[in-house]
Amino acid sequence: MNILVAIPLIPALVFFLFFLLPRATRTKMLFLPIGAMAVSLVLSLMAFSTVFPGAEKLAEHGAQFTSYTIGVIGGVPLNISLRLDALAALMLLVVTIVGMAVQVYSLSYMKGEERIGWYYAVLSLFTAAMLTLVLAGDFLLFYMSWEVMGLCSYLLIGFWNTNDEARRASIKAFLTTRVGDVGFAIGLAYMWATVGSFDIPTVLGSAHTWGPGVATAIALLLFFGAMGKSAQFPLHIWLPDAMAGPTPASALIHAATMVAAGVFLVARSLPIFEASGVALQVVLIIGATTALLAASMGSVQHDIKKVLAYSTISQLGFMFMGLGTGNVSAGMFHLFTHAFFKSLLFLGAGSIIHSLHTQDMREMGGVGKSMKVTTVTFTVGTLALSGIMPFSGFFSKDLILDHLWREGHYVIYSVALASAFLTAFYMARLWFRVFSGTPRKAGHAHESDMKILSPMIVLALLSVLAGATTLVFGEFLGSETEWPSLVMGGASTIVALSGIGLGWALFGNGRDPEAVRARASKVYMIVTNRFFLDLVAEQYIAGGYNRLSEKVNWFDKKVINGIVNGVGVACRQAGTQLRRLQAGRVQVYQRLVVAAVLVLVLVAVLATGV
């Protein structure tokens, strides 16, 4: 069997098998999804090795390619195809490595959960969909797997379906991303109308001939879909609520892979954005807005997972800024490193939650003394996210900042620097509140078992080492990258260190966070209320929709039902009147018949004119 087909097919088969099995059998067969994941990981490594070290080798051998015709529309065959190029090979590695870590981790984290079999089934389906998405050689298959991922996200957020909050969060996530998906779908239709093909190389190859108007329209529609999936302003509101799902699922779906699919979509279709020009500016501005807003909102959260969720939104904004410079490797490198350190942070947070049974940072403290391994790995993740040399986040973030500066986007550059400052600040705030000081309400922590720790150790190693691949990475994706220059790297390091310093000054050594709130009460209030964006969404968008629904409901009840009921009432009234004729007296009927015959004869006579 073709290796490209096998990679997504094996997890998909596990899902279908689990779908059919009864719950008790599923629970006993958890080795199946993990085994399938391992096979996919090995196959992905093999696939990667056929592409490595990049562009030249690809040009020599050509991309591996498999295509199936699923139908014919108007004489044009509709193909779905799998294609392995550098971008796809890279994403394969990210998805399978993080996926593998999460699946092993979940064995312990989800242990004793009644529906653990279903959890693994959905994880497998998700993995299959994500792998299909990265390998998709045409936009149709891309969109199909994109939607399957949306479904898996919905199922996993609402995994604890007896919890009202989780249920509502899952619906919010599903609907919000669906808003973006509508844009994506319209964009695809427009694309088909313009090119008559979904094949990615064909579409991208002809992008520069479309004219700026068409290219801008298609690019923005695609980007709208990406905004929904990657939780970009103003469609970011679903991601923090999505934290109601199981933590390992958050690590996989809402930190490393699915939310990065939007970035991947823009990276894939970057020639369309370049043909438009305007669209690139939009990507830059949306990315910058999101990065700054989300970073500031992350600074006031008390729920450890929500801090990380806002951080994810903010970092996705960074990736879009990188892509907005028109450089694939700037955005993708941050995606690559972020996948490792952010899933590490989520898994670390999960380890702490698992031990303390709370997500509220106000109840945590002094974890550093009792959970050594978790503390070390989490610290690695924190430093990587804050952008401290020599951790991977430093290199990838610097690449983005470097490109922003070099392309002359000075305003965006300063916004990015401010976001980087806030990133370092909220991570320091999180770190000091959780790991330093003395244990608070939640009590003493105890270290998790090896199933939880080993994936974290692997991810921590990757978070450290990924930065070293900067040059190889650029070459692999076929664009020039350099080590960060002294000035650029120095500037961002100073910003990051001052962010951490502010965090230490406010929250270090178990200082009282209440004092901070009192000093900046107004700003605090606005930021805590998430800039009222959720409120606006609920009041004016969802609320407007509700009011419209009420009007429609009124119309339906009064007018439509009025007509229907009116017919019924009229019939009944007529019947009441007519039944008086049915007196049961034969002679009355007789008279009616005679009268009717007379009338008919009269009509007949008059009609014939006799």
Binding site: R579, Q582, A583, G584, R585, V586, Q587, Q590, V594
Partner: protein, 103 residues
């Protein structure tokens, strides 16, 4: 003075109307049956009259009238049997009191 077709038709119409009046207004079921006979015979007169004056060489109308008489005899026999059965059930032959068909 010759008696033409219109005279017969007029007689038949008169008889029919009398019968119809009886059927719709008489209280007793027996009277209604008798009125029905009047109506049937009015039709018979029509048939014979048309046959005699319009197609005298054929006997179609007369034969039809013969059939009608046979049928009417059977009908009156059945009708009287029904009236007797009705009387046994309801102790009355007054049609106004028999209103089982009321809706």
């Amino acid at each position: 003075m010759t008696v033409g077709l219109p005279a017969f038709l007029l007689l038949a119409a008169l008889l029919f109307s009398l019968g119809l009046y009886g059927v719709t207004s008489k209280k007793s079921a027996v009277m209604v049956l008798m009125s029905l006979e009047l109506m049937a015979n009015a039709v018979n007169i029509n048939l014979v009259a048309f046959s005699r004056f319009l197609t005298p060489e054929k006997m179609t109308g007369q034969v039809f009238a013969m059939f009608m008489m046979v049928v009417a005899a059977a009908e009156i026999g059945l009708g009287l049997a029904l009236v007797i059965a009705l009387y046994r059930q309801t102790k009355t032959v007054e049609l106004d009191h028999i209103n089982e068909l009321r809706g």
